[in-house]
């Protein structure tokens, strides 16, 4: 079976893909913002809510046990999927943003002091910038960006120099850029950062849907990802952290579940992972996230990555034929993201006119304003982003629609 038949095999798993928009068949190329959900994921949520919903962990009754087992089995699946050393290193969060804030507020407020430096790359999503800015402001520490080359790859020399010059306490790096598609050499970054004595945080939001991820080979200290970009539900994600670090960190949110015992004289906290999981979690989301991982693994990350790489090449060569169009981010190693600008046309106009033709793309700064400023793209880019179910034909339709949009604007 060839890889190009992948979408054929799986498109029928996605009910939304057969809908129309403005009377045209939907072409959904906004997967980096959020992927669509296979039936198995949708049904897992429905099944849970219809058949065994109950609050988890504390309940002795049967439904509570079923729900707890299903929810906790996702923790196990995540641990297996990312090669965690133990299951309790996996903390459920509301998403990547929530996970990074947990690290910044818990690890960061304990370990960052006045005068310290934090490095993050210039291509980070706001979620891996703003929590550190807020921390640095509180602690009078400094947040310093690592430069990005014009082709959208990380400037490793700048990283090396910054490590030497600033001796940072922490280095944050995105595994794959949501704006450029660039897959960063996170192993090398983590090795260099560790050698310089820094703790590392890898933002895997865009890696989880596209790449095999392994904590033991990446060598980071913290890794975060979010379910909804990986065919799972919104509102659920995870933080992975090294056990020793997690054990040493104070809790962040207080409430039920995260305590061992509470009294007004003094409260003691639960062990990891529960120490970081206050309150009733997004149970149906947690369960369905596990189903999404199963679904992805059923297809195989190999096949998905191979298929998406083909799509990126196909899209980039088709787009080359459009005059005045420039692809932004031309790294060799990319996930399924193609950003572009067209001279003289605002991405918002182009995106609106694509929408009118049923093509869903995203335009703007993609929550990476510093990157856009660094690249001199004040209006952002137009971004097409792919998933396992995206076809070459869809990309061809999008390219034709883009040509039409440009004609209308000329």
């Amino acid at each position: 079976m060839t890889h190009s038949s992948l979408p054929e095999r799986i498109r029928r798993d996605f009910p939304i893909l057969s809908r129309t928009v403005h009377g045209k068949p939907l072409v959904y190329l906004d997967n980096a913002a959020s992927a669509q959900k296979p039936l198995a994921v949708i049904e897992a949520q429905r099944e849970y809510l219809s058949n065994y919903h109950a609050n988890i962990h504390r309940g002795a009754h049967h439904l509570a046990q079923l729900a707890t087992e299903a929810y906790e089995s996702t923790r196990q699946k995540i641990a297996n999927h990312i090669g965690a050393y133990t299951t309790d290193e996996v903390i459920f969060t509301a998403g990547s943003t929530d996970a990074i804030n947990l690290v910044a507020q818990s690890w960061g407020r304990t370990n960052i002091a006045e005068g310290d430096t934090i490095l993050v790359t210039q291509m980070e999503h706001h979620a891996n910038i703003v929590p550190w800015q807020m921390l640095c402001e509180e602690k009078r520490a400094r947040l310093i960006p690592i430069a990005v080359h014009p082709d959208g790859t990380l400037d490793l020399d700048d990283l090396d120099q910054a490590l030497r010059q600033h001796e940072p306490k922490l280095v944050g790096v995105v595994h794959a850029s949501n704006t450029l598609g660039t897959i960063n050499p996170v192993e090398a970054v983590c090795r260099a950062a560790k050698a310089a004595g820094a703790i590392t945080v890898v933002d895997g939001s865009q890696a989880l849907p596209h790449l095999a991820i392994n904590m033991q080979t990446i060598g980071c200290d913290f890794y975060v990802a979010t379910g909804h970009k990986a065919y799972g539900p919104t509102g659920v994600g995870f933080l992975w952290g090294r056990k020793a670090l997690l054990n040493a960190m104070p809790p962040w949110r207080g409430g039920g579940e995260m305590i061992h015992s509470v009294s007004f004289e003094g409260t003691t906290y639960n062990e990891i992972p529960h120490k970081f999981e206050a309150g009733t979690p997004h149970i149906s989301g947690g369960i369905a996230f596990g189903v999404a991982l199963d679904w992805m693994n059923g297809i195989g990350l190999e096949s998905i990555h191979h298929h998406e790489t083909e799509l990126v090449h196909h899209a980039q060569s088709a787009l080359e034929t459009i005059p005045n169009l420039k692809v932004i981010g031309t790294a060799n190693q990319k996930v399924g993201v193609v950003s572009m600008v067209v001279d003289g046309h605002h991405p918002y106009d182009l995106g609106t006119l694509l929408d009118g033709q049923g093509i869903a793309v995203r335009t703007g700064h993609h929550c990476t304003e510093p990157l856009m400023a660094h690249m001199g793209l004040s209006s952002g880019t137009l971004r097409m982003s792919f998933a396992a179910y995206t076809t070459r034909e869809e990309i061809d339709r999008a390219v034709i629609a883009l040509e039409r949009a440009i004609n209308m604007l000329n």
Binding site: H22, G23, H346, P347, Y348, D349, T352, L353, G356, Q357, T363, G364, H365, S379, G380, M408, L409
Partner: protein
């Protein structure tokens, strides 16, 4: 009366757009309108007049006239947004402050462009309309 003025201008726009059933035709027209909106004086294309949507940027200048009416000029770096701000200016500019403050701007909804006016919209249009109304309300309060 200015309220009638605003209402009749809205009807005019609605009629104009009723010629187009097709989404693309409607936007083609909007683009033409956008191209026809005169650029705002470069002196007014400053940060002071800038309304930052998260995607396109809008500049708005408001001038109080002696007779209590308000003249608006507006611009945008995106042509579709420019068409939309042009429509807003066409409907509201020259009306009395109080009428602007009270205006019920249904026409975008009627012609099927209401999504551009959503408060979480990214083009700056909703913020612009809010600012037009705040300006007019302040002016009306001052004069009464």
């Amino acid at each position: 009366m200015s309220a009638d003025l605003i209402a009749s201008r809205q009807s005019e726009v609605i009629e104009e757009f009723s010629l187009f059933d097709d989404w693309m035709d409607k936007y083609e027209h909007l683009i033409e309108l956008g191209k026809d909106v005169p650029e705002i004086d470069s002196g007014k294309k400053t940060d002071e007049h800038l309304i930052k949507g998260c995607q396109s940027r809008v500049w708005l200048a408001a001038d109080e006239q002696h007779d209590g009416t308000v003249t608006f000029t507006a611009d945008s770096d995106a042509i579709i947004t420019k068409g939309l701000v042009g429509l807003m200016v066409r409907v509201l500019s020259g009306a009395e402050a109080q009428a602007i403050a009270d205006a019920d701007l249904q026409f975008l909804d009627t012609i099927g462009l209401h999504q551009h006016l959503s408060p979480t919209g990214s083009n700056g249009l909703a913020s612009m309309v809010k600012q037009m109304k705040l300006y007019a309300a302040a002016l009306a309060a001052r004069r009464s």
